[in-house]
Amino acid sequence: MDVRVSGVRKEFDRFPALHDVSLDINSGELIALLGPSGSGKTTLLRLIAGLETPTEGKVFFGDEDASLKSVQERNVGFVFQHYALFRHMTVIDNVSFGLKVRPGSSRPSKDEIRRRSSELLDFVQLSGLEKRYPAQLSGGQRQRVALARAMAIEPRVLLLDEPFGALDAKVRKELRRWLREIHDKTKHTTVFVTHDQDEALELADRVVVMSQGRIEQIGTPDEVYDRPNSPFVYSFIGESSSTEVQIKNGELWFDGQALGISSDRPDGEGMLYFRPHDIELIDASNRGIAGTVVASRRVGATRRIELAIAGATDHVEIEIPADHPATETSRIAFRPKHWRVFPKS
């Protein structure tokens, strides 16, 4: 099922949570909504589900305007951050709830409901735990029950709010892989919310990066990582360093000398963004950014150093090989291999 969000704005008590957000989700896609807290990602997810009503704009499921439908009618599978399992019901009763509350005409028979629920529990590898209560399950098991419950209603879209947020790191990694497998088997159109960039990059077909109620960038994990289109995305996803540069006649200048990097931005001041590891060290006499090492830390296989540049008015971080001889007060020059220049904010 395609999902299309079109020009949606949402205000809570006149406090804007989303400004004019549009998003096309293709059938069968696995989409991550990634952003810091307060970026509006959960609000967007709840708007798709129908748990919130947009102040303006529409949500389409296929060609149908879902904005006109209530949550109950939308037929979405929603997995809540803290699972929201019904704690007085057994696992199997939780999973079969959605089928049991259907109106008589579309409700499967009792046996059918039981069969389908057991099948789903089997699918999420929880068979044998049918009679347990949620309080008697581990966090990871609860998560699976919540997913099975959401899938039982044969949803048109599967929506997950911080699905791994409440789990410890080890279980989180296991479930991440497992969710991807489930998605590949079922091909449900799936949207999940996360603030964890690793999770988004590893799991999603496309990542929607959000900040302050706006979509900053939509793209495949490679696109958003390799070609961030804003300073926010640059600094939110992966590591980034930045420094102030001048643009003169289509060339970047730093500290009074041309860097040998061309730019199509108009003349003036700009901010140069690059990844700390994505640089080449050059001879200090060559054209590049030169500075004095003020701090040096060993991080895994590489060494991260902090350079005082531009007459010590600015600091940047870069990564160099661990066996590089530079020590504090050494002078080092480098040039970014990939970069982007944004207007100075």
């Binding site: 205000e11 809570f12 008590d13 129908g50 748990l51 009503t53 209530s70 109950q72």
Partner: protein, 293 residues
């Protein structure tokens, strides 16, 4: 009446919101709740004052100029002024012992403290009658020593203490348990002795919970009827507390006087409720561990 749903404040969103009822359902439910409370709780309260003033303020005030009424008021104050402080001391000590120390049978002890709540007030009086009556082992001996307990003030105080026994302790136990012992340990490590620690550290921490417990304990002590009725002997001017005096006046068909004295007790109840609500509003977080009753 402007009805809104609880957590949602955006009125446009409430129309089809998933977590609240339709407007009509909210209206009907609120109506039912308010009507029920008005009929069963508010109306009786109002009627007390209306009946008391049925024959005008002069008759109302006349009820209090009667010596028996004044004696009843004095006795009620006397009983409360003995029973409440004793139960406060007990409540604080018991809560201290239960919250700050570990020992076997703690859960059982807590249950025992709650016991008077689950005993009929009449039985609470009866146990003292059995203990001190002339048919008991203790009664004749006490009589020979010239000590009157039953059908006298000591019996009334004892019965009142029995029924108000749990109030202070059960407010303080959860409160003190939640606060733990770190504050006290800090004070002791700084050289304070046990008494100083209690006075300067423990007591300030529990003062609002304590006040809350005292309030409820006092309301019950002044208003207790069943237990006191059994042990009092109903001697006018001597062993009649205010609630008992209300009964006697009522049974004599002296309705205005009965409701006049009752109105004083109702006023006490209202003051208790107001203070209790103020405490909950201002110190809600500090009282959070507190249960009902």
């Amino acid at each position: 009446m402007a009805l809104e749903s609880g957590p949602v404040t955006d009125p446009t969103a409430t129309a089809r919101h998933a977590t609240t009822e339709r407007r009509t359902a909210r209206f009907v439910l609120t109506g039912i709740a308010l009507a029920f409370l008005a009929l069963f709780l508010v109306l009786p309260l109002v009627s007390v004052f209306v009946e008391a003033f049925r024959k005008g303020p002069t008759e109302y005030l006349a009820a209090f100029s009667e010596p028996d009424a004044q004696a009843a008021i004095r006795l009620t104050l006397l009983v409360a002024s003995i029973a409440v402080p004793l139960n406060v001391v007990f409540g604080v000590v018991a809560a201290w012992a239960i919250a700050k120390f570990e020992f076997k049978g703690k859960a059982f002890l807590t249950t025992l403290i709650d016991l008077p709540f689950s005993v009929s007030p009449v039985i609470s009086g009866l146990v003292y009658v059995l203990l001190f009556s002339s048919q008991s082992a203790l009664g004749p001996w006490l009589k020979s020593q010239g000590i009157e307990i039953l059908f006298a003030v000591p019996g009334i105080v004892l019965a009142t203490m029995f029924v108000t026994f749990p109030f202070v302790a059960r407010e303080l136990i959860p409160l003190m348990q939640e606060q733990g012992t770190t504050d006290e340990e800090a004070a002791l490590s700084l050289g304070a002795n046990g008494w100083q620690t209690f006075w300067h550290v423990t007591l300030p921490n529990i003062k609002w919970g304590l006040l809350y417990g005292v309030l409820l304990c006092n309301a019950r002590a002044m208003g207790e009827f069943g237990a006191v009725s059994v042990v009092s002997g109903h001697i006018r001017g001597l062993t009649n507390t205010m609630p008992l005096h209300v009964e006697i006046l009522y049974n004599e068909y002296n309705f205005v006087a009965a409701f006049a004295v009752a109105s004083l007790l109702a006023l006490l109840a209202l003051v208790t409720l107001v203070l209790k609500t103020l405490l909950e509003l201002r110190y809600g977080a500090e009282l959070r561990a507190v249960g009902g009753h």
